[in-house]
């Protein structure tokens, strides 16, 4: 039996605007360590909502969310921010780098916030991550000057800097051409296989989903497969 990293028990969520609407219905989900999971479904089926909820950013739900065996339901926002900082990495469709900072600084910021290592060590680690993603040569460039594929790889490096147990992607390849998509997919694959990190990615990309370990399909707020 593999170690369970994330578990939800009976998660239900409503949207109240413009009118009350049940967007998630009794979601029970177990994710094991090192799994590469794709979350698919039509637009509006609730997959992104579920992912933000799993990422601890959305706290307005009923049910229980456990990550690493720790119950996170009902925790304060500041505690959850600290938890995300340490245990969860994010990769978004739009790359969301801080434009005034260099690639290297963007990667370093979450680690500086965590403050686990001295700055020199963090810099070394950030360079290693950039190297692993093949963009070490772009380290000193302003992040706004990079191409889309490069930006996405910087974002992945940033997601990895604190060695999180869980990496969440919101259509991480949604804005990339097929070459860059393949690169990103390969990186994800390598992370799960070589480093035992868990990935949960919302995607519309059928190839991407097909190649992952497990596909969870959602429809009308329920898991259907």
């Amino acid at each position: 039996m593999k170690e369970i990293i994330l578990e939800t028990k009976g998660i239900t969520k409503y949207f109240h605007e413009p009118q009350t609407f049940q967007v998630l219905k009794d979601i029970n989900l177990k994710v094991v360590k090192g799994e590469f999971l794709s979350l698919v479904g039509k637009s509006g089926c609730g997959k992104s909502t579920l992912m933000y909820l799993l990422s601890t950013m959305d706290t307005d739900y009923e049910g229980i969310l456990e990550i690493n065996g720790e119950n996170l339901t009902g925790r304060r926002a500041d505690y959850l921010a600290g938890f995300r900082n340490q245990h969860i990495g994010f990769v978004f469709q739009f790359h969301f780098l801080l434009p005034e900072f260099t690639s290297l600084q963007n990667v370093m910021i979450p680690a500086l916030k965590l403050g686990k290592y001295p700055e020199s060590k963090i810099k070394k680690r950030a360079m290693e991550k950039l190297e692993m993603l093949g963009i070490a040569d772009q380290a000193e460039k302003m992040s706004s000057k990079l191409s889309g594929g490069q930006q996405q790889r910087v974002a992945i490096a940033r997601a990895l800097i604190n060695d999180p147990a869980l990496i969440m992607g919101d259509e991480p390849t949604g804005n990339l051409d097929s070459t860059n998509s393949d690169i990103v997919f390969d990186i994800f694959r390598k992370l799960t296989r070589d480093f035992g990190q868990t990935i949960i990615a919302v995607t519309h990309d059928d190839d991407f989903a097909a190649n992952s370990d497990r596909i969870i399909e959602m429809s009308d707020g329920k898991i259907v497969g």
Binding site: S48, M57, D78, A81, G82, N85, L98, I109
Partner: protein, 415 residues
Amino acid sequence: MRVIFSIAKTHLLAKPKQSLVAMLGVTFGIGMFVAMVSLMSGLNNFTEELTMTSSPDIHIYKDITGERVSILEQLNPGGINFVHHPKPKNESQKIRNAFQIAELIRQDPDVLGAAPQLSSQVFYNFGPVQLNGNIAGVDILEEDKLFGLSSKMKAGEIAGLLTTTNGLIMGSGLAKTLSLSVGDNVTVTTPEGVTISLKVVGIFQMGLGEIDNIRSYANISTVQKILGKDQGYITDINVKLVDLYQAKAKAIQIQSIFGYKAEDWETANATFLAGAVIRNIMTYSVSITLLIVAGFGIYNILNMTIFSKMKDIAILKATGFAAKDVSGIFMTQSLVIGLIGSVLGLILGFILSYLLSLAPFDGGDVISIDALPVSFDPLYYVIGIVFGVATTAVAGYMPSRKAGHVDPIEIIRGI
């Protein structure tokens, strides 16, 4: 903490013009505050000092104009009495045993000195013209001890009064009007019609027109002679205290012990002190207005920055920055703007104050100064920087709080 500061720094440096404009708002506010407060308090201190040197801390005299109980009231107490337009009695203004009272007051350790004197309204004869003024009969050495008269002498010596029986030390404005100089004689007429010739042995200048244009000093005996009074005739006792802010309490005490009216300097100079208060109110209200305008500038700029940085805020929160960290980033920015702006403002304020202190200014007959009196009290610089930082902190607080409460999901999904 360091990462918050470095993000704040990067944001500030990314838009140098905007940061500079916000900073200059604070700089001008603080600069003007410091310059105005320095000038106003310089003026206040200058006039206060003048008034202090020319008026005693406590002035003891016999109050004959005060309300008195009518004879009808005494005979028919509690009845319905109407007395229309009562006038004061013809009483002597003499303070009985004035020299003994002065001696007793001097024994109080809080008292620096007490000088008995008498004064009279007089007319100075200038050819056919008569000029109104007054003459004070004083013990000139005691007077010098209390008011530093010898340092105000423009011509002659105060000792001249001791060696000349009919000597007179005259205010500079008066001497100029009468075209008198030391050694000249002047004829003086009292309200009772006595005329006497006095010799000018010195000319003083207090710097305050209302004194220099009307007052002269003479020996006590000289004035007693002009008025035709005995040697015990004294109308006033001037008291100088060690701490002039005790005057109010001390005056009440003296009045109750000796039964004569004792007026403290605050009551005597009430109009002047009210003027100082009004000047201060004006200075502070104008400065605070300037700072509020600067505060709105910072509020606006910070709001704009936060609006354009929504994505950044979302990603910072997603990657583990708590609400207080995000607020801290923007609060740091506004405090840095406030601190640098205020320090520049202090420098600007100092330069303006210095230039003002060099500006030639003719006080005319009222006060004798040739440049604006400017105070360089460090206290105003401390107030300035506290004001500046406090304003920016208040202006920065609301936008920063708002930034801290941005919901990252809304931003990330909203694209």
